[in-house]
Amino acid sequence: MIIPISLKYGLLVFVGVTGVLQAAACHNNLRGLVFFKNRYIAYIFAILAAGGSLASFFAWNYLFETGVIAGSEQAGIFVLSAFIAVVCTILVSSAIKSVSFKNRGAPPDGLEALRGATIFHVFWDRVNGKN
């Protein structure tokens, strides 16, 4: 099966953005966004994902010798892939940590809430009138 070059580009952006999100969440102690409980494993995952993606872009002309993606197409695919990466990060971290953070209080505003809960927890609590 031949994968179109724009799809390869989108997949590599997705992996890179996911890696950077994991690294930033670890750095900022946003435990509700991190996939792994162990901080070091999370960092290793982030470095492999972001580093692998960047290395592929660095070697792009060797990996994919034919085809060029126009600037506007690049921008569109980047925004879409980055958006999907953010949504997937929220979904996956919420699913993995659905039973964590049991004794959580009212979450603070903004990203700080993700230090002690996943986004699903925060919205679930909001729907149930806990905050």
Partner: protein
């Protein structure tokens, strides 16, 4: 010293040390530095530990996004009214070390230099550390475009100047849109994304 003679001098450095050739081919391709700069923006959005610094960083990211839009308009306008042939279209083939495929669009301004500088300048003004990384990336990738033989120095300098101008305009726009951006931050903070 003309644009062409500076081009020939810089491009003349290519083809001597293969590891340096590979470095500039990688860093100056159509994707690496743009994606790298965008990943730095995503890091900036989420990484600051306290609210005050994070808001400064996130304002820098917003200015950079506006700046990309502004510089795209500048580049489109330039391409509409002016076409400059690439060095490999004008100079004798044996005088150039071409390490890249042959783009067909106008040589002036350098699209890569303009966009990467448009991202780096507003970030540097608001957040020095990340801005310095982005400016370093912008300078290296822009120099690389001359090194690999697809731009004249003036194309890259013009692109950098357009990018910097767009950066300052974007900072002005984000300042003028202050109340709207404040509301946007409030909404994003309610959704726990800022």
């Amino acid at each position: 010293m003309t644009d062409t003679s500076v081009f020939l001098w810089i491009n003349g450095l290519a083809g001597k040390v293969s590891i340096i050739d590979e470095f500039f081919k990688g860093i100056s391709n159509d994707y690496f530095s743009l994606i790298g700069a965008c990943l730095v923006l995503i890091w900036l959005w989420f990484a600051a530990r306290d609210v005050q610094n994070r808001e400064i960083d996130q304002r820098a990211v917003m200015a950079a996004i506006i700046s990309i839009g502004v510089v795209s308009g500048f580049v489109a306008l330039c391409n509409e009214h002016y076409f400059r042939p690439r060095p490999f279209n004008v100079l004798p083939a044996d005088s150039i070390n071409l390490l890249f495929y042959q783009p067909t669009d106008s040589s002036f301004p350098s699209n890569l230099a303009s966009v990467v500088f448009a991202i780096a300048v507003p970030v540097f003004i608001k957040s020095r550390k990340a801005g310095a990384v982005l400016l370093g990336l912008a300078v290296l990738s822009s120099f690389g475009r001359i090194y690999i033989g697809i731009h004249y120095p003036l194309d890259v300098l013009g692109g950098a100047a357009l990018g910097a101008l767009a950066g300052f305009i974007a900072l002005g726009i984000s300042w003028a849109l202050g109340p709207i951006i404040k509301i946007l931050f409030k909404v994003l903070r309610m959704g726990h994304l800022a």
